[in-house]
């Protein structure tokens, strides 16, 4: 029982991180049909930023602010320079553009920091923990879940309660109609990149606290986790990203817990197996819209 509770807690904290990763990606897909494969490089760039700031002994709180500001600026710059010119292009063009952006950023990181791992120190505070009824709760886990919940709540408020959020939802459903009603494409897209960047900055703090190192090619894992989560949950929907992230986290945690060690290397393949299974049963993802039969 205690063991199960421990696994559930692990699943929740990993899932919360994945859900956050997924949120940053799904928003851009929802608004402009962009699967941003450069998203992982945003996270990696933040990793290097965290590492540098730590080397300069910047206090944790200040470092969070700087990293989020940096990630937001990078995201907006990406949007303005690389994606804005293709805003009405087909999804494939956007997808290829995002690969291009990822390659450029990766090359820049390689040129600046070189190949190989760089340590991203976990703040000492996050290593502590408590024992609650036999279950070990680390500060990092609590932070991951807390931050995940806060971000989801904040995003919900922005999307549901503000004018700009309303315009984003309208634009995501029917861009042409939204423009006819006076919604400004530039404003909606810029906002989407801002939000995506803020989330990337926040999630990278949790992400690197968990894995402890960064390398130029480290973008693949976060991008794939986010991508799998949004495909499972339903592309372009906030609810889908959260559900998909939590489900993927649970799936992975329970694989690690219950799979014989010899099979563990196949964990990633099994995650993709889960994707295929979900898509077979529910092609629109778990929270996705069902395919509309009539208008």
């Amino acid at each position: 029982m205690v063991e199960l509770a421990q696994h559930l807690l692990d699943a929740l904290s990993v899932g919360a991180t994945y859900a956050l990763l997924a949120l940053g990606l799904t928003l851009l897909f929802g608004v402009m049909g962009l699967v941003n494969f450069a998203y992982g490089m945003l996270i990696v760039s933040c990793g290097y930023a965290i590492s540098l700031l730590d080397g300069w002994h910047v206090p944790l709180v200040a470092s969070v602010v700087v990293v989020v500001a940096f990630s937001t600026s990078l995201s907006v710059a990406m949007g303005q320079v690389a994606f804005r010119p293709f805003r009405s292009a087909p999804p494939l063009t956007l997808l290829l553009t995002s690969f291009g952006v990822a390659l450029i950023l990766q090359a820049l990181v390689r040129m600046t920091f070189g190949e190989g791992f760089r340590r991203v120190p976990t703040p000492a505070l996050l290593g502590d923990g408590w024992h609650v009824a036999g279950v070990r709760v680390s500060v990092l886990q609590a932070v991951a879940v807390g931050v995940g919940t806060a971000v989801v709540a904040a995003l919900y408020l922005v999307l549901q309660r503000t004018n700009l959020g309303l315009q984003m939802r309208a634009y995501a459903e029917d861009a042409e109609l939204a423009r006819i009603m006076g919604v400004r494409t530039d404003q909606v897209l810029a906002t989407a990149f801002v939000i995506s960047g803020v989330i990337a900055g926040i999630v990278s703090m949790v992400w690197f606290a968990r894995i402890g190192t960064v390398q130029p090619s480290g973008d693949l894992t976060p991008t794939l986790k986010a991508f799998i989560a949004i495909v499972i949950g339903g592309l372009g929907s906030v609810r889908g990203a959260v559900l998909g992230g939590l489900l993927l986290g649970a799936f992975e945690s329970f694989l690690v817990a219950y799979l014989p060690p010899s099979l563990l290397p196949y964990g990633e393949a099994m995650a993709f197996g889960l994707v295929i299974l979900v898509l077979l049963l529910r092609p629109g993802g778990i929270a996705g819209r069902t395919v509309e039969v009539s208008k």
């Binding site: 939802r169 309208a170 459903e173 029917d174 042409e176 006819i180 009603m181 006076g182 819209r289 208008k295």
Partner: protein, 251 residues
Amino acid sequence: MLELSDAVTGYGKARVVDGVSCSCERGEVLAVLGANGAGKTTLMRAICGSLPLWSGELRLDGESLTHLGPQERAARGITLCPEGRRILTTLTVEENLRIGATALQRRAGRSERRRLVAEGLAEAYGLFPLLEGRRGSLGGTLSGGQQQMLAVARALMSRPRLLLLDEPSLGLAPRVIDEVYALLTTLRLRGITLVLVEESSTRALELASRAIVLKNGRVQLQGATAEVRADPRLASAYLGDSGRGGVPGDG
């Protein structure tokens, strides 16, 4: 008020609207008629700006809007109530209405926005009490007739100077079409300038003061409704022609 001259536009390489000129005076109802595929919807998209003109010019009260996008044209008071209604199905009825006020809010000062939206909503619910009862329902759950009412109400939220209505009676039951036309009559009495696209000409010609008839992307006929109704070319506009562009008796 609205002046369109030599408008040419289309999709890809296909010219769908091919040299259309027309105008519309303040407070008038202009009917745009023609068979399916004549270019009526494309013309509306060109006027509201979601489809750029390849050549030609569009003016509203003397100001050239030719190179402005749909957002800027919306801000100047052109609103389209599109074909097929295009209700945002994942938004509530009230959110659909609020989206309709986006252009108006852009025109107004920051302090006025909230009041304008509140007034617009009150007006919309006054005109369509049924929508008020369903203000929290998702747009996708409304019936076809209710969606059409919502589409018109949404368009009115922007307090348009020029309202383009693309086939407002399409796919509706006759009784609901009566309601829609009663509503359009009300709008005409309020002095809103309307451009009304319909495939079936009877109802539209009753409401409009002038009409243009399109065929293959060109103006086949235009004039006061009485003249248009009496003209034999009205019927011919609805008949397929075997030749390319050649219309019998239209030398």
